[in-house]
């Protein structure tokens, strides 16, 4: 029987994986890197939220969304709206025609703050909005699509189209959104300067903790009956339906959770990088984030984090030395992962690392325990069966 802690940690193997990841993120990287590089890692880790959401949605649920960038963007924009309002106090914007509103609104001849910006003056509202707005958006899309059993490639294409629409809208309505420039020049949160080195360290750790929180949440979902059903649905949707489950409800829920996790990543991105732009909302980043998950192993939560770090590290290194080579590499990565390593890093680990004797023994012990449990219950079952 699984206890709650087992569910969150995923057994011995899970504990080991989590501990290694925590060691890397919480200790090794902060000690080994200067604040500039660490801030970069922090930025990558915000993408890991999206990769994580795709492991839930795509790896386990078989639902490929090519629009996760939308939710990342929505979360990021909610945060950015709050920070921008704080940066646009009447004194620092006194040069404008209308002081007290964000600079890009002034350039676009707006003379008052639009109504939907007003509530973003409050931090509690903003935090709520980061979590709720993308979720509602996902719910609407999910409800419309899954209730009508749109799935597979159709879902992928339609989410892509919605991402495109949203990015055209953001660019087109620049008086309200900052347009193609995005919302820039964010400085403080409740008076706390987010650009200082100490702030960056704090934000890095907040981000890391939230990431682990999301890993725990995802793991809980995946190890519950819900997770088993998700896998079952991916492979035999019809069977699940004819076992009395409303398949669409499960898909909508997964899509919403994935949206919320992505949005948290987006909000943390804004805080750590200091701006948000529509270039995250469109198609290209949405697909790139799928590859992060694929490289890590589409079924593995921890793999998603490693995949994100690895691909982005590669991107930074190569774009500094061989920018041309990078696109070849990225393209090749897509092809190679799909053709040769469909289970990504996690798959390679399963295949090889498990052969290390110490690990093997440790994991085998636990497996034996499980089997024993079944065997003993089997006897009980036999007895019951005989009685019936």
């Amino acid at each position: 029987m699984k206890t709650l802690s087992d569910k969150l940690l995923g057994g011995k193997q899970g504990v080991l994986g989590l501990a290694l990841l925590a060691l890397l993120i919480m200790v090794i990287l902060p000690l080994g890197l200067d604040i500039f590089r660490l801030n970069l890692v922090g930025k990558y880790l915000t993408y890991a939220f999206v990769a994580l959401s795709l492991v839930l949605l795509w790896g386990n649920g078989g639902i490929l969304s090519l629009g996760q960038g939308m939710f990342f963007g929505l979360g990021g924009y909610c945060m950015a709206m709050f920070l921008k309002l704080e940066a646009s106090d009447p004194i620092s914007t006194k040069i404008q025609t209308t002081p007290g509103i964000p600079d890009f609104m002034d350039w676009n001849q707006l003379t008052a703050l639009p109504w939907f910006w007003e509530p973003f003056k409050s931090l509690p509202f903003t935090i709520l909005a980061i979590l709720i707005v993308p979720t509602i958006f996902a719910y609407i899309i999910g409800f419309a699509m899954f209730k009508r059993r749109v799935g597979g490639v159709y879902f992928a294409i339609i989410t892509q189209a919605i991402a495109l629409i949203l990015s055209i809208l953001i660019v087109g309505q620049q008086g309200y959104t900052g347009g193609v420039n995005g919302i820039t020049d964010l400085k403080t949160m409740l008076g706390w300067d987010i650009r200082t080195d100490s702030a960056k360290y704090i934000l890095y750790y907040v981000n890391a903790l939230l990431l682990f929180g999301c890993i725990f949440l995802s793991r809980y979902i995946l190890t519950s009956k819900f997770g088993m059903l998700l896998l079952a649905m991916r492979d035999k949707e019809e069977r699940v339906r004819f076992s009395g489950y409303d398949v669409s409800d499960f898909k909508i829920f997964t899509f919403c959770v994935a949206a919320m996790i992505s949005a948290i990543g987006g909000a943390m991105f804004t805080l750590q990088v200091g701006f948000m732009s529509p270039s995250f909302v469109g198609i290209v980043p949405s697909i790139e984030m799928v590859i992060f998950a694929a490289v890590g192993g589409r079924m593995s939560l921890i793999g998603a984090v490693y995949g994100t770090l690895l691909v982005n590290y590669g991107k930074t290194v190569f774009s500094e030395t061989y920018p041309e080579l990078w696109l070849f590499l990225m393209g090749g990565l897509f092809i190679a992962v799909v053709m040769f390593f469909p289970d990504g890093l996690a798959g390679i680990y399963q295949k090889h690392a498990r052969k290390i004797p110490f690990l093997k023994r440790w994991v085998a012990e636990e497996k034996q325990k499980q089997t024993d449990a079944h065997a003993s219950h089997g006897k009980v079952g036999t007895k019951l069966g005989a009685e019936a």
């Binding site: 088993m228 059903l229 009395g244 489950y245 409303d246 089997g378 009980v380």
Partner: protein, 247 residues
């Protein structure tokens, strides 16, 4: 129609695909605890009838009543929850899950999103899994990944998954296809056992097997009922012989 004692009452059921009537004004009644076998040549509409009952296909007109409850307007999962179970022609099991998990997933508790998130593997669930596993002869293979089972065992596993749901009406589409002679006998026994307290509809081609299990046989042809009655009676029917043999 007024209420009846039938567990299943199908009346004037019609479905057409682009003008082609796969099922045409069909009337079919199944008693409580009856094991009914539906036979008929290819394309007779047998599988379509099952699809219509379980909601996979929506009817063009007519009514399907299960325990006097109209099914035609319900969604698939609602029909299942009302007490109808359906096994597909090719075994439809979760290959990546173990036999135990396959059965557990089918246990009728925690069927809502939140229910499944909070679902606990309690003793009564386990007991039920073991009981069904024994019934379907898989109790020694609980930890095996379902993909590794033999074809016949997969068929049983799917029947077992349906039994987990405790359905009042069980519909099986060619349950012994691909089974060895011994497995067929075991399956026949299994079916005879499980129809003690529920009704079962079986689609089958293997006449030997049909003889072993059928209480009553319905012959479908071109979406209509050609004959109905005991196996002996149906086998002697001129029209049935013509459909099967004459061309």
């Amino acid at each position: 129609m007024s209420n009846t004692d039938f567990i299943l009452a199908i009346e004037d059921l019609t479905v057409s695909f682009d003008g082609f009537k796969a099922v045409d004004k069909l009337n079919l009644y199944v008693d409580k605890n009856e094991l009914r076998v539906v036979i008929g040549p290819n394309g007779a509409g047998k599988t379509t009838v099952l699809d219509l009952i379980c909601g996979k296909t929506k009817s063009t007109s007519g009514s399907i009543k299960f325990k006097n409850k109209e099914l035609t307007k319900l969604a698939e999962h609602e029909i299942v929850r009302a007490g109808v179970g359906r096994k597909f022609q090719t075994p439809s099991i979760y290959e990546n899950l173990t036999v135990y998990q396959n059965l557990e997933v089918s246990y009728p508790r925690g069927r809502s999103v939140w229910g499944s998130l909070l679902f606990k593997r309690s003793d009564d669930v386990m007991a039920r899994v073991y009981k069904v596993a024994e019934e379907i002869l898989l109790k020694d293979l609980l930890d095996m990944e379902a993909a590794l089972l033999s074809h016949g065992q997969k068929q049983w596993l799917e029947i077992g998954m349906l039994l987990m749901q405790e359905p009042e009406l069980l519909m099986l589409d060619e349950p012994v296809a691909g089974m060895s002679a011994k497995e067929r006998d075991q399956t026949a026994e299994l079916l005879n056992r499980i129809c003690q307290n529920r009704s079962v509809i079986v689609i089958e081609h293997d006449m030997e097997f049909v003889k072993k299990i059928a209480h009553k046989v319905t012959v479908l042809h071109q979406g209509k009922i050609l004959a109905e009655g005991s196996m002996d009676k149906v086998q002697a029917d001129e029209k049935v012989i013509e459909v099967y043999l004459g061309h």
